[in-house]
Amino acid sequence: MTKRVLLHVGTPKTGTSYLQDVLFRNRPVLAEHDILYPAERFDDQFLAALDLMRLPWGGLETEAVGAWDRLAGRVRAWDGTAIVSHEILATASRSQVGRALESLGHRDGVEIHVVLSVRDLVRQIPAEWQENVKHRRTISYARFLEEIRDPQRDSRIAAWFWGVQEVPDILDRWGHDLPPERIHLVTVPAPGGPPSLLWQRFSRVLGLDGLELDLEAERANPSLGVPETALLRRINQAVIHDLDPTDYRPLVRELLAHQTLSRRTDTPRLALPPEVHPWAQDLAAAWASEVKDRGYDVVGDLADLVGAPPVQTWADPDHPREKQVAGAALDAISALLLENARLRHTEERLAGELHEAHRALERAYLRPTYRFREKTVRRLQTSRAGRGALKAYRVARGRSSRSE
């Protein structure tokens, strides 16, 4: 029986990709210390979250069938501590949370802890808009801000944003059945702090202090600047109706956004418009106060939630400097040309192989011996004696030689 389950349920853009990468790559070391990170492939826990919440994800959900039950089964079978982590779990409904806790053994005496890593809204709001753009959306930054500030939250974008970002509501859903001391809030340090500080906080709450883990990151979810995000949005507007999600992911999200445009780090960074800044800080302050009142375990500093003051010079991604966008576009074209050249070479090679296969097939059909054998088989099939002879031949040969 698992003694303890640490359930890290979000939020997005709080170093979760890095944490999950470290946990995944260090599974053997963790296992030596009785800690299970149940995943055979890197995205196993993402697929489990899709399955738990019945969440379609551009076709990936077909790989998620039964993934949560498999994960929960492994956790229940483990006699130690298990860590489950995915940021989209933040949006689970109370029913789904109930199912998750029960399947992990909540009613059977397993000690379940919920961990939520949180970052100030000053950084989270632009980061979420950028994630939307990296997931095929074409919404402008101004419209995005308008939608998430609408108290009705009718739009899908607003529903998703608050579902994964509204800290007190997430903890209401996930913490409903748990005492406050088993709910842990990890705050992402303010900008300018030591880079290792966030990891130290994760390490402490997940009980990883003292373990010799390889902390070199292989996977991350890099951010884009203002002109790069603006370019990506324009690309979405141009191709979104013609490019399937299965093509969009490798070509736009991976090749253009992550591998190409994220390397341009000398352009203005996304930020909150100065007029929205006070609203975001007031809201974060209300959240911090609520969290404090509820008595959760805070790892870090609730003051981190308030966020940095407004930037001196704000760059509007809806009206970027066209020269900077053109620079990003050149980089994008170069990357696509190089990728296209690589694919052309692959296509030429495969076309050659296919041509050879066709020729071999034609030769097989046209060979006189093939036609003779076919004619013989047809003739034999017309009489009982012939069919008997064929059957005997096939038994002797050991396999069927019927053409279909």
Binding site: P56, S93, R153, R156, S403, E404
Partner: protein
């Protein structure tokens, strides 16, 4: 969803309404004022409660179905489970509460599709006839094109010992008027991968000026022409010509298209099924479990909306001319490809789809529990029903 331990007049009213609905009541939330004791981990969301009220209006759900509705979550992205307006004060956090009667049918359908998908997984597929003894003298053929024509004929011929394929098999590309073929392909997708709504799907095709592969007869014919080991390619626009071409005396007519609302419901269920079963299993369940149940649903099938007729006519003319210019043998009148006026619905209606979903849930529930009373009732058997 309101937490269990809270105890305010609004929350007690909400628990009272829940009890009323569990007992088969149909009173709207706005007209309800009776209190009730807390009776569960959490109070279900407005979507689940309103769906249960609609089920009560449509029939008499069993205790098991009531439980499933109340513990279901809406799959996919959309609004989260919502609080009842008036049950709680305006909460400081979370989405604003709603009057469940104001929820659009689409929100209720998200929950209903989730439950229906579970029913489909639990149901027994209607078995298709297995392959018959293969006739050595059969005429080698391959059936392609409009899935509403090709798929049932292929299934029947396999059962009659005439499977497709074989050396020098004649390739028969089946089609009808292009408007109907588009509707057939969309319906086929609804019982397969699911995907976009009828209008969004058509909009996307028209914007890109492309036809779906199964309705693009010219492209199919070109793709199969000259393949090694294949016979000639012929286009069949006259269904009466098919039996002769495949070497049988007669074939069953293809089943009629399902109602627009039924196809759209299958599309929504398909999206949820993709999270419950593997893609091949999903297709079997949709075609052999859900489709038979939807086949008799009343309502017109989808037809081309007015705004797409000119584009479809233009594409049909190009297809006809292309097939004739390329010299393919065409059985039937080539002008049969041009779209014709047909009676039907330009798009499904959410209200119709929801009504159908409720009917299917109740039918399945009755079959599972042996309970046959489907008539609507007034409800409120043991719940306190009052009017504010």
């Amino acid at each position: 969803m309101t937490s269990g331990p809270e105890d305010t007049p609004g929350v007690r009213r909400a628990w009272g309404w829940l009890r009323h609905l569990q007992a088969g009541g149909t009173t709207a939330w706005a007209d309800w004022s009776g209190p009730g004791p807390a009776g569960g981990r959490v109070l279900p969301g407005a979507q689940q409660l309103e769906l249960l009220r609609r089920l009560n209006l449509a029939g008499r759900p069993s205790e098991a179905l009531v439980h499933r509705v109340l513990t279901a979550s809406a799959p996919g992205r959309g609004r989260p489970d919502l609080e009842l307006d008036g049950a709680v004060d305006r909460p400081r956090f979370g989405p604003p509460p709603v009057d469940p009667a104001d929820l659009p049918d689409d929100e209720l359908l998200r929950v209903a599709a989730n439950l229906l998908a579970e029913d489909v997984v639990a149901g027994e597929p209607v078995p298709e006839p297995g392959p018959g003894w293969v006739r050595p003298w059969r005429r080698r053929h391959r059936l392609l094109g409009d899935p509403a024509l090709a798929v049932p004929l292929r299934t029947e011929l396999i059962a009659r010992g005439r499977p497709p394929g074989g050396r020098n098999a004649v390739v028969l590309v089946l089609g009808t008027d292009l408007g109907q073929m588009l509707a057939d392909v969309w319906e086929h997708r609804c019982f397969g991968d699911g995907g976009a709504t009828w209008r969004r799907w058509l909009d996307s095709l028209a914007r890109r000026d492309v036809l779906p592969p199964r309705a693009d007869l010219l492209r199919i014919a070109e793709a199969w022409t000259g393949r090694p080991g294949r016979g000639r390619v012929e286009v069949v626009l006259d269904p009466a010509a098919v039996p002769d071409l495949v070497g049988v005396r007669r074939l069953s007519p293809p089943p009629p298209p399902v109602a627009a609302d039924a196809a759209d419901l299958a599309r929504r269920v398909s999206a949820v099924l993709s999270l419950l079963v593997t893609p091949p299993r999903r297709e079997v369940l949709l075609r052999q479990t859900l489709r038979p149940r939807l086949a008799g649903a009343a309502g017109p099938p989808v037809v081309l909306p007015e705004e797409h007729r000119a584009w479809v006519h233009d594409r049909a003319v190009r297809m006809r001319d292309g097939l004739l210019n390329a010299g393919y043998a065409v059985h039937g009148d080539p002008d049969a490809l041009l779209p014709r006026e047909r009676p039907g619905a330009a798009e499904p209606s959410d209200a119709g789809v929801l009504s159908l979903a409720l009917r299917l849930l109740l039918e399945r529930d009755a079959a599972a529990t042996g309970h046959t009373d489907h008539g609507s009732h007034d409800g409120g058997h043991d719940g306190e029903e009052t009017t504010r």
